[in-house]
């Protein structure tokens, strides 16, 4: 199935027994008749039985593999050559 908005392929996911179609391009979501109501009901049930607000996904500020000295360094003092690596094709 193709997205009616941007024509990228749609992928079908199952969320708590509800089929939703998401566009792999623009990420738009399409719901069939009644699915929005089902999702709303599930969300309400979930909110009632989960008093502490969910943490969700912890936000990451830098990858573990990078090794960069993040924070504090607002200039190019440490690595003069770093900027030029942002300017040329590899």
């Amino acid at each position: 199935m193709q997205c009616p908005k941007c024509r990228a392929p749609m992928q079908t996911y199952n969320r708590n027994g509800v089929q939703i179609e998401q566009c792999s391009g623009c990420r738009g979501i399409f719901l069939d008749y009644g699915e929005l109501e089902t999702l709303t009901r599930l969300e309400a049930q979930w909110a009632q039985q989960a008093p502490p607000p969910p943490q969700g996904y912890p936000q990451q500020q830098a990858p573990g593999w990078g090794g960069g000295h993040h924070g504090g360094h607002g200039h190019y003092g440490r690595r003069k050559g770093g900027f030029s690596r942002m300017l040329f094709s590899s």
């Binding site: 990228a8 996911y13 593999w65 990078g66 960069g68 993040h70 690595r79 050559g81 590899s90």
Partner: protein
């Protein structure tokens, strides 16, 4: 051969002003004369794909995003396809504080938002993963172990093997998404046009095509991750991208969206592989930034398969 190509380009453009060579690499030659720039594209590019990419650059949907080519003065010169462009002013290499990171993010987001279905097709695949794979192949096929770091080369290759297939241009070649991407986005791909204070545009469509848009965020992301550029510059690029509704990452204010992780790893490996090949073939010696990239590759190799990105592991089922 290359000297002859430069001469031929200079000859072609002479009417426009005194010729100046802007780029002269083994694969690409660019000559400027006054307000006209002639580019001889890499011989390895597929002619049909290049023609499709040039049509996209000329399309009205990309006005104000991609610099549009000039009509005429295109065709083969010494077996290389030559295209013609208006001159634009590039980012100053000696003034990193003035670099247009936010504008780069903004333009990238607008490029990604282009409705692919309304462009003249068929469009080739965005060539970022293929170019990274070519750099790694060059490292793997060096006749001798790269000095001064034979063990380091093995780590770079191992870091590469931990990437998902799409990021290595391996089978299946389908990238997670199919949006219009630049394919080789870095700050050298922005020019002001008109040159005197005009708006910024993206240039160089040689790797443009449909694919995973997060790839276009990979170079600045890798620069931030490995400490080559300040966090503030990456933050400005990412904020510019998000403010313009860029689809590669989810909205938010986190500095490391999961979508950029795999492309940033791949580009880090690509840059490190190229540096080792250049060092081994006498093009240039390894410098401090290369050692930062190589150290990052060692950590990527040690971390194992990259899967926590939401794009590299096949998505939800």
């Amino acid at each position: 051969m290359r000297a002859r190509l430069v001469d031929r380009l200079a000859e072609l453009s002479r009417g426009a002003g005194e010729p100046a060579v802007l780029v002269d690499r083994p694969d690409v030659t660019v000559v400027r004369s006054g307000g006209t720039v002639l580019k001889a594209h890499a011989a390895r590019l597929d002619p049909a794909a290049l023609a499709a990419r040039l049509r996209v650059a000329a399309h009205p949907l990309l006005a104000g995003i991609l610099l549009a080519p000039l009509a005429g003065l295109t065709g083969p010169v010494d077996g290389r396809h030559v295209s013609s462009w208006p001159y634009g002013a590039a980012v100053a290499p000696d003034a990193p504080e003035a670099a247009p990171w936010r504008e780069a993010g903004h333009l990238t987001a607008r490029l990604h938002a282009t409705p692919v279905g309304r462009l003249p097709g068929p469009l080739p695949a965005m060539a970022g993963p293929a170019n990274a794979a070519r750099a790694v192949t060059a490292l793997r096929t060096l006749p001798a172990a790269p000095e001064p770091a034979p063990a380091t080369a093995a780590l770079v290759l191992r870091a590469w093997e931990h990437l998902p297939a799409w990021a290595r241009d391996a089978e299946p070649r389908t990238q997670p998404r199919a949006l219009l991407c630049h394919g080789d986005l870095h700050l050298g791909q922005l020019v002001r046009h008109p040159a005197a204070g005009g708006p910024w545009h993206l240039i160089d469509v040689d790797d443009l095509g449909v694919g995973e848009p997060a790839w276009d965020l990979a170079r600045p992301a890798a620069g931030y991750a490995t400490g080559l550029i300040p966090a503030a510059d990456w933050a400005a690029f990412l904020a510019g991208y998000r403010d313009a509704g860029g689809p590669a990452v989810a909205p938010g204010d986190d500095l490391w969206p999961p979508e950029v992780d795999v492309p940033a790893r791949a580009v880090t490996v690509q840059l490190a592989a190229r540096a080792l090949v250049d060092a081994a073939t006498g093009v240039r010696a390894l410098d401090d930034t290369d050692h930062d990239l190589l150290a990052a590759c060692a950590r990527i190799a040690a971390m194992g398969d990259a899967t926590g990105d939401g794009t590299g592991s096949g998505g939800p089922s």
